[in-house]
Symmetry: C2
Subunit: 137 residues, 2 copies
């Protein structure tokens, strides 16, 4: 398993703090999803887990991802080019650039793209993000 941004103990504590039982499968998924993963879809999480964890079912992967989204540890993204959900462990405001050819997603910080809303008050904006599409050279 690759070097992770969080120790097992830390992941356990994060899960507990959110009221989630830190089972072996959940910890394994989190090791990938909260650290090394870069906008993975469910298949990628499953593939990683199959290589780095003795046994996990696809149902548990889906279930765990849904739980992580519910408690706000990750976010679900969907883009026009694919019908698969993509997950993002960066839950603060930021943006995405998607390469037309490769479909690779790049995180774009709020510093790099400025958004100014002049919307009327009846639009109460809670969050926003910019999707940029183009060519990465």
């Amino acid at each position: 398993m690759k070097n992770s941004c969080l120790t097992t103990k830390e992941i356990e504590n994060v899960l507990k703090s959110k009221g989630i039982q830190p089972t072996a499968q959940r910890i394994a998924v989190c090791k990938y999803v909260l650290c090394d993963a870069d906008h993975p879809n469910v298949d990628e999480v499953k593939a990683w887990a199959d290589e780095n964890f003795p046994k996990i079912s696809l149902a548990t992967v889906y279930n765990t991802m849904n739980i992580l989204v519910e408690v706000g540890l990750i976010k679900t993204l969907r883009f026009p080019h694919s019908d698969k959900a993509i997950f993002d462990n960066n839950t603060s405001i930021h943006h995405h650039f998607i390469d037309e050819k490769t479909s690779k997603i790049y995180d774009i910080s709020s510093d790099e793209v400025e958004v100014k809303s002049k919307l009327s008050n009846d639009f109460e904006v809670k969050e926003y993000s910019v999707l940029l599409v183009g060519n990465k050279v």
Copy 2:
């Protein structure tokens, strides 16, 4: 059928100009999708067609939407809250506000939300759009 923004003749011409044979089914779908529809999904297009056109199959609806996207008459949108494709007959740069509660999508013009990119040159941006999420009052 509701009052449409394009006559049948005009739709025929639009399709022909894109190299698409203007069949009865395609014209019917276009009457809705290019005019009255407001961010419909495939089900909504099918439901409209079932009421306003003698007979059309779901496969033809999918097929027609795909063709319209290919030639650039409409765009596909996908948002985190749903795994269904949503179609937009506004193909120029604009933005979307989605109401958390109702999932209704509001078009937001470029005048209302300003986007300024400071991205480095290796990101060649071809198009972009802002997704705003919140509460519409």
